[in-house]
């Protein structure tokens, strides 16, 4: 699915990622954990294509293509989706318009015909119901005045409709109460299948109780320093990061 090799990246001239390598196969769910400032959010920003992050060396191959030759929207159309840690508010653009414009842009890129309004609305209503979001949401501006939980649910709703191949979940659990976390997790789990992969970035083991990862990586100072299974997350929760660092040293 995605092959990240020896990735180095800078933000405002400061090196953040310092040789990160990671390989995700179709159907796998990976979690990246790590202390603040270790480069977790930089990784997702670089993969999604933010221009204020400078890639200095290394490569990323996404579905056989060099990711860094693709524009932001090309990455999205190829099936990469970043669920934002802080989804932006976009006053004046309705959710329904964003969903339709995004879906049809992606379909067009794949050479599929645009989805007609009735079929589109049927799809959207189904997903709204699944995410326990009221229909009135469609006519509200994107994320405007949404609570933290609503914003995250909106990210997952978009994911359900766009059906990306690789989803980057950047601290999708932050700001969620238990009920919202359950709904968000159910949304994610409903999309898990042999052809789709997930990369979760999180601080807390709690999320992993709901979305079980196949692999857990520890990111520190821009590199993955340890990889394990779900039990690694439990150990981190219990003992913090210091012991991993010591083990490496």
């Amino acid at each position: 699915m995605i092959e990240i090799k020896d990735l180095h990246a800078k933000v405002e001239g400061k090196p953040i990622l310092k040789g990160l390598s990671l390989s995700i196969k179709p159907g796998e769910v990976h979690a990246i954990m790590g202390p603040n400032g270790s480069g977790k959010s930089t990784l997702s920003a670089v993969l999604a294509g933010r221009s204020d992050y400078e890639v200095t060396s290394g490569s990323v191959t996404f579905l056989g293509q060099d990711l860094f030759t693709m524009s932001v929207e090309e990455r999205a159309c190829a099936g990469l989706m970043l669920a934002f840690q802080y989804p932006v508010e976009i006053p004046g653009v309705k959710n329904v318009y964003l969903l339709k414009a995004a879906l049809n842009a992606q379909r067009k890129a794949r050479g599929e015909p645009e989805m007609e309004a009735p079929a589109f609305m049927k799809l959207v209503r189904e997903k709204l119901q699944f995410m326990k979001i009221d229909n009135s949401f469609l006519h509200r501006a994107v994320n405007e005045g949404f609570s933290g939980g609503e914003k995250k649910r909106n990210e997952i709703l978009q994911m359900l409709i766009l059906e990306p191949k690789l989803v980057l979940l950047d601290e999708i659990d932050s700001g969620l109460d238990i009920d919202a976390l359950k709904i968000v997790s159910e949304g994610v789990n409903s999309l898990r299948d042999a052809g789709r992969s997930f990369l979760m970035i999180t601080h807390y083991q709690r999320l992993l109780d709901y979305i079980e990862p196949d692999f857990v990586h520890v990111l520190s100072d821009g590199k993955i320093i340890k990889t394990g299974d779900k039990s690694l997350a439990l150990a981190l929760e219990e003992r913090g990061y210091d012991w991993v660092l010591e083990e490496i040293a």
Binding site: S71, E73, R75, C77, L82, V88, I90, Y97, L98, A101
Partner: protein, 436 residues
């Protein structure tokens, strides 16, 4: 100035002696006395008329009928309306249509009104926009000859909108026109007035249009001004409205360009319960210069005024927004809101925004604000990260900025035109009923 003097002498020489002829002479003298405004005149501080003053414009003596018909067919609004069409300031009888007017309603070309009901027409003219208002209004008065007279009787609702279209043609020599629209709306009457200015590509004319409207008790006027001049064109506009008790005037202005486009909009709220609501969009490109000045006089208590103007400036275009609300000493319990937001899409675009309040009463509710910014890059990234192309994403965000004012446009034809101009061709809109 000399060219104006020559044109004026030729224009007024053969007019019948009387009030109109002498008023025109007085108006021209006023124009000559004031001259083109310099930047030391407060109202013209940010709009330079030097280039305009240097230009030479003649009065049109005729026009090419088929070219006018073609321009009207390609860009004119097709809505079902009473129509008056002027080509370079001259009435186009073949494109106009006032058939089927209801009783107690008069709509006629100004030239006709002056020919048939001189005294009545002169009595209405200049009451609000007389020769002493400003230099361009004086110039308009000096050359006043064509335009429209609209009289809506008491308790009458005009059964179709009135559409006044100004066609400005690309002639060998630049022409000037000075249309004047006079509206008298009777008690409890209602009127929808749409003015559409269309410039042929390469047209380089001066249009100096004045509207004066008197609104009796509980009268309603919905006024839309859609401006699509060419990039080389000059437009000076003034609207003066006098509002009696409980009357309501709404103005939607869509200014889509021109070399220099300046509008003054003035409402006098003279009776309790009178209300005016202005909204507008100024959309500039290239080196266009657009300027809106509004003034609301709260001369009576319990009057309301609302203003929302948005400016979107590309390239090296410039905008000026100046709104003034004056609350007289005994005008208590008034409500006035002025909103202005400006979006600069280029580093070289420029806006001068100045909302002003002068309050001499003590029990009032007034709010004003002006903001200027650029497209939100985080929002742009968010849309693109969902697969939407950059151009479309920019269009969507630009449109979103303008939505508040363009959503007030009730006619789909105008809405679509403005939307396409602002945002480019967006993928098809979702039918609202399907999403209920």
């Amino acid at each position: 100035m000399k060219q104006y003097a020559e044109a004026f002498t030729a224009f007024n020489r053969d007019a019948e002696n009387g009030w109109l002829k002498s008023q025109r002479i007085a108006a021209f003298a006023r124009f000559e006395y004031l001259g083109f405004p310099t930047s030391s005149v407060e109202e013209w501080k940010y709009t330079d008329t030097k280039a305009l003053a240097k230009r030479e414009f003649k009065l049109a003596t005729g026009y090419n009928q088929s070219a006018a018909a073609e321009l009207f067919a390609s860009k004119g609004l097709t809505l079902d309306a009473y129509r008056l069409v002027f080509v370079d300031g001259l009435l186009s009888p073949e494109l106009s249509n006032l058939e089927g007017l209801q009783e107690a309603v008069v709509i006629e070309p100004l030239s006709q009104a002056l020919a048939t009901e001189l005294e009545l027409t002169c009595g209405m003219m200049g009451r609000l926009a007389g020769i002493d208002v400003d230099v361009f209004t004086a110039l308009n008065f000096a050359f006043v000859n064509e335009g429209a007279v609209v009289r809506i009787g008491n308790n009458q609702t005009l059964n179709k909108p009135l559409l006044i279209t100004y066609l400005s043609m690309a002639n060998d020599a630049a022409v000037m026109s000075h249309p004047r629209i006079i509206v008298a709306a009777g008690a409890n009457s209602e009127l929808q007035l749409i003015e559409h200015f269309i410039g042929e590509e390469e047209a380089q004319n001066l249009t100096n249009r004045v509207v004066e409207g008197i609104m009796e008790r509980n009268a309603k006027i919905h006024h839309t001004l859609l401006q699509q001049p060419s990039d080389k064109e000059w437009w000076i506009g003034r609207i003066q409205i006098d509002q009696k008790r409980d009357s309501r005037y709404t103005s939607h202005q869509m200014n889509l360009g021109g070399k220099l486009v300046r509008d003054d909009l003035v409402c006098d709220l003279n009776g309790e319960g009178a209300e005016c609501d202005f909204s507008g969009l100024l959309f500039g490109r290239n080196r266009q210069h657009m300027d809106i000045h509004t003034l609301v006089n709260h001369n009576a208590p319990l009057t309301n005024s609302y203003e929302t103007y948005k400016t979107i400036l590309n390239d090296r275009s410039q905008g000026v927004f100046n709104s003034k609300v004056i609350v007289k000493k005994d005008s208590q319990k008034i409500h006035a809101v002025q909103n202005n937001a400006n979006l600069l899409l280029s580093d070289q675009a420029q806006i001068n925004a100045k909302p002003e309040l002068e309050i001499y009463a003590d029990d009032v509710k007034c709010a004003h604000g002006a903001t200027t910014g650029q497209l939100d890059l985080d929002a742009l990234f968010y849309l693109m990260a969902r697969g939407i192309g950059e151009e479309e994403a920019r269009g969507l965000l630009t449109l979103a900025f303008a939505n508040e004012v363009i959503d007030k446009l009730e006619l789909p034809e105008i809405y679509n035109l403005v939307e396409t101009t602002v945002a480019g061709q967006l993928p098809h809109k979702i039918e609202l009923e399907l999403t209920q």
